[in-house]
């Protein structure tokens, strides 16, 4: 049965860990329902990392005067978890080039990491909102 969990946080960096740890906890719940005796750390760590990246992106691009909220929606299904991260910042694309590691870049790894740890990543603009959706199967 599909279960939906929603969490809305202020779009500030200080809430990034709360968002990421919530994602890890929800992923652990999904793991626990499917494989009670097997705590799938890779699955849990993947959601912690992906949500940290997406939330940080939202917080860093928020208008500093307003700090619009960021909403996380978790859709837990048997053997699969999807999380969407919604903000009302300026539009952005997720088709960014892979950073040239030989030039020692300090940025540009976030979306690369999300793509590497998730099975499916999509972005859409819905009215004034950015919605990035990230899914992974157990």
């Amino acid at each position: 049965m599909k279960k939906v969990i929603t969490l809305t946080l202020p779009g500030e960096l200080i809430f990034t860990r709360l968002a990421a740890q919530t994602a890890a906890s929800v992923a652990a719940l999904v793991c626990g329902e499917c494989h009670p005796k097997d705590n799938n750390c890779e699955f849990i760590n993947a959601f912690e990392l992906a949500v940290s990246e997406a939330f940080t992106n939202s917080a860093l691009h928020a208008c500093q005067d307003e700090l619009p909220p960021v909403t996380l929606t978790f859709i837990a299904e048997r053997h699969q978890l999807t999380v969407t991260v919604r903000d009302t910042n300026e539009p952005f694309g997720i088709e960014t080039p892979q950073p040239d590691i030989e030039s020692y870049p300090e940025g540009g790894y976030g979306l690369l990491i999300i793509r590497k740890v998730m099975d499916t990543v999509t972005y859409r603009r819905d009215g004034d909102a950015n919605i990035i959706s990230m899914s992974k199967k157990l």
Binding site: L13, I14, T16, R17, A20, N45, E48, L49, S52, E53, T56, A59, L60, P99, I101, Y104, P105, E106, G107, G108, Y109, G110, L112, I113, K116, V117
Partner: protein, 116 residues
Amino acid sequence: MIITETTQNGISVVTLNGTLDALSCPEFRANPAVGDPGQTVVLDLEKVDFIDSSGLGSIVGAARKKRQQECDLFLACMNDKVRKVFEITNAQKLFHIFDDTGAAVEFAAMQQEACK
């Protein structure tokens, strides 16, 4: 993030304990040994319970600045969670990575001596 610093065999060993992300990486960059491009550092990552792209970027940036000054930044005691982030971004190829701090200090001291 708790940052502690010791000196072993003339090499600064900086130990991180906690989360290295966008919120904490300014503190990491501001550490005197990390921020001084003229100082070789061994970074002990065993107690880093989480690192994301911001944390990774701050380590890569510190290494770049040190290498421009003929110094270096070595990584030691990576746990699996930290190692995964370096591997999926291919950043591990930029670093000498050691299983223990002692071996990293020994290597760093030898390299520093060779540069004199």
